[in-house]
């Protein structure tokens, strides 16, 4: 290993990691169930192709504090991340083990003192631990998305995901163009006054655009009628 040049602090090391309870197959299953559930406005009809699943240990500062007579444990990420759900991580009674040799652990880059101003209570202890997360990518149409699964609790931290289009665009296009096309044709043949009808129809369509377009907002009924 190369020597650390002068002036550069030694890297922060995790004292332990939280033991993962969920394997890759189970993590994928959880994600599939979540994607296929009807609780989120996803695209259920499109085929979802799963990609890579990677388990990473994210370094977290674990602060043990005594606040108002109760013991409080606060977790804060020890590396910069754009992933959602990691800022206010909650966890109770997690089993901590020694760092496995093959652990894919991200480098901690933030000192514990950075978070002191936002912590309350009397400091009792603090340690740097790794929290395992499954990062699973999936593809819908031509876009790639990712979801994080807590490898201990199985909780999902949702990231950017596909959103169902609640509009039937083909139907909207047909309704908007065909009647006015026929009416315009008739107006030229018979009377220009019929163009007033065309204009009125267009205003009606624009006014009632939600009725024409946003028509399938109803959730699909489940097999059991739920």
């Amino acid at each position: 290993m190369a020597e650390i040049p002068e002036g550069i602090p030694a890297p922060l090391q995790c004292s332990g990691v939280i033991a993962p309870q969920i394997d890759e197959a189970r993590a994928r299953e959880i994600v599939r169930e979540w994607l296929e559930s009807d609780t989120k406005p996803f695209i259920p009809d499109d085929r979802i192709r799963f990609g890579k699943a990677v388990m990473l240990y994210y370094p977290f500062w674990k602060y043990s504090r005594e606040d108002g007579g109760t013991d409080v444990t606060v977790y804060r990420p020890a590396c910069g991340t754009l992933l959602s759900g990691l800022q206010n991580l909650q966890r109770d009674g997690s089993e901590t083990i020694l760092v496995p040799d093959d652990a894919n652990i991200l480098p901690a880059t933030i000192y514990s003192s950075v978070y002191y101003p936002e912590l309350h209570g009397i400091a009792r202890a603090e340690e740097l631990i790794g929290i395992p997360l499954w990062l699973i990518s999936y593809k819908v149409k031509n876009s790639i998305y990712m979801v994080e699964v807590d490898a201990e609790s199985g909780m999902i931290y949702e990231e950017w995901h596909p959103i169902k289009e609640p509009v039937n665009w083909r139907k909207t296009a047909m309704i908007a163009s065909i009647p006015v096309m026929i009416l315009s044709l008739i107006a030229v043949y018979f009377s220009a006054w019929l163009f007033l009808l065309v204009a009125a129809l267009l205003i009606f369509f624009l006014y009632q655009s939600e009725m024409l377009g946003v028509i399938n907002l109803k959730r699909k009924e489940g097999k059991d009628g739920a």
């Binding site: 959602s84 950075v114 044709l185 030229v188 946003v214």
Partner: protein, 499 residues
């Protein structure tokens, strides 16, 4: 590898202090919700689940771009006359290139939006920051290439046909800058979105939000209905003109216009998204925090690294490569050394003795010894053409002579007149063998850059002569080069040469 890594770690790091508080960022976000074609009830229904301050790293390369471009542009008048405008462009500006040093994935932040100034030294681990990824050396190379392109584009902007085109780049700063942003993750009707707020100015830099579907539907209805009216009317008129006496051509144009509106309107609004976002989400694998990866060494470089310890060729003292274009003296024997990743070259130097006149005039004042590169050059001009009146009383500086380029950190507007003056005068330099007491300024321009500046000095001198330069072909040969420390006396903010 160790050497490369240590060089990479020496890149200066700075950060901008966040000036926007969480409350202000939240208010900015709420205002952003009401702007654009976002969902109308976004302000009411959006729930911010997380909002935190994060520093994003950016590579920043600042360079002085110098270019000479000559040529002409032609245009033909209605009468058939061809008008030719001849141009002589001189570019001498500062160019800044920035690149995000981590992956911001879907948010699409690629360039630094803040101008230089107001940064403070960055201490690792002291703020929540994304780890910079990739290699500093590679980023520096990319920056150099990008700035070269910027210089070229600036020089060639007005000229269609180039007859002379030379550009040079003088690197000034290569650094890692951290810019603060507030990351806001929010939920809207079960879907997750993110927005990024600038932590210095308080603007929204990027992010995603649900779109106003009603507006999108209405736009589609409007475009297709107008298309339908045009198609219907034009078809009817083509079959039976009725009271409308329009030319057939016009009717066909109307028909085509209607078809085009339908064909363009349908896919444009159908393929639109339910959310608006900046950037893409192509690099899923790099969404995890980046890790600094040193430059991938070539086989040749690995061989050299494996067998070479960088040493002073005179005293054998082990030396380290400094970051940037610095000529540093050996700590043991004080010889000037030009250290690159693979080699250490000794740079010969002289110290000029202040002349008697300046010694008497500036008695008691300590001289600043400013380093200059002195190139013994043979400038052989083979072809030259200039338009307009070219009568000049200025001396010629081609042929064999010494060119002087200031190598210290002196503003170029001050240094350039000194360089021209000494290049024209070619002063007799009396060397001091044992050195002279004074303040010796560090050398911040290496030989390659100085050589480019020499060529530019000549070209600049030629363009500043009367007339518009069009063609200049020459052979430029450097026969010898060395550093010369020239004494200057500071008096009331100005420098008085001691030779």
């Amino acid at each position: 590898m160790g050497l490369e890594r240590s060089v990479e770690d020496q890149v200066a790091e700075f950060y901008y202090k966040a000036k926007i508080t969480r409350g202000v960022a939240d208010r900015t976000l709420r205002t952003w919700f009401t702007k654009g074609i976002k969902a109308p009830d976004l302000t009411k229904c959006a729930e911010v689940s997380e909002m935190y301050l994060l520093y994003l790293p950016f590579w920043r390369f600042i360079a002085q771009g110098k270019a000479i471009a000559c040529g002409y542009s032609e245009y033909t008048e209605q009468t058939g006359n061809v008008i030719r405008n001849i141009f002589e462009e001189l570019i001498d500006e500062e160019f800044i290139w920035t690149e995000c040093a981590c992956d911001t994935g879907k948010y699409g932040i690629e360039k630094l939006w803040l101008d230089p100034g107001g940064e403070i030294p960055y201490i690792r681990g002291s703020v929540v920051s994304m780890e910079p990824g990739g290699s500093a050396i590679e980023a520096s190379r990319r920056g150099r290439e990008a700035v070269h392109d910027l210089i070229q584009n600036a020089a060639e902007k007005r000229i269609d046909i180039l007859t002379l085109n030379k550009s040079f780049l003088i690197p000034k700063v290569f650094e890692l800058v951290y810019a603060p942003v507030w990351i806001a993750h929010y939920q809207y009707k079960g879907a997750s979105f993110t927005a990024i707020v600038d932590g210095v100015k308080g603007d929204v830099l990027g992010g995603s939000s649900p779109i106003n579907l009603t507006a999108r539907t209405r736009m589609m209805i409007l475009s297709l209905a107008i298309g339908g009216i045009l198609i219907g009317s034009s078809v009817a008129m083509l079959i039976h003109t009725g009271p409308y006496q329009l030319a057939e051509m016009f009717q066909i144009i109307l028909l085509l216009l209607g078809i085009a509106m339908c064909m363009a309107g349908y896919p444009a609004f159908k393929e639109g998204k339910t959310f608006v976002a900046s950037g893409t989400m192509q690099h899923i694998s790099s969404l995890r925090p980046a890790v600094r990866v040193p430059k991938q060494l070539t086989d040749h470089e690995i061989l050299n690294h494996g067998s070479t310890i960088l040493q002073c060729p005179f005293c054998g003292e082990e030396v380290n490569q400094p970051w940037g274009e610095v000529i540093s003296p050996c700590k043991k024997c004080s010889h000037l050394l030009d250290i690159t990743a693979d080699t250490v070259k000794v740079v010969p130097y002289d110290v000029a003795k202040p002349d008697l006149l300046s010694k008497v005039a500036m008695e008691g004042v300590k001289a600043d010894f400013i380093p200059f590169w002195r190139f013994d050059v043979d400038f052989e001009v083979t072809d030259k053409l200039a338009g307009g009146d070219t009568t000049t009383g200025l001396p010629e500086i081609d042929g064999k002579r010494s060119y002087y380029i200031c190598a210290a950190d002196i503003p170029r507007y001050l240094a350039e007149p000194w360089e021209i003056d000494m290049t024209i005068r070619n002063p007799e330099i009396v060397e001091v063998i044992t050195g002279h007491e004074g303040n010796y300024l560090p050398i911040l321009i290496n030989q390659n850059t100085a050589r480019e500046l020499t060529e530019f000095l000549y070209l600049r001198y030629e363009t500043e002569k009367p007339g518009i330069l069009q063609v200049l072909r020459y052979n430029f040969t450097v026969e010898n080069s060395r550093i010369v420390y020239i004494p200057y006396y500071k008096e009331q903010g100005s420098h008085i040469p001691g030779i």
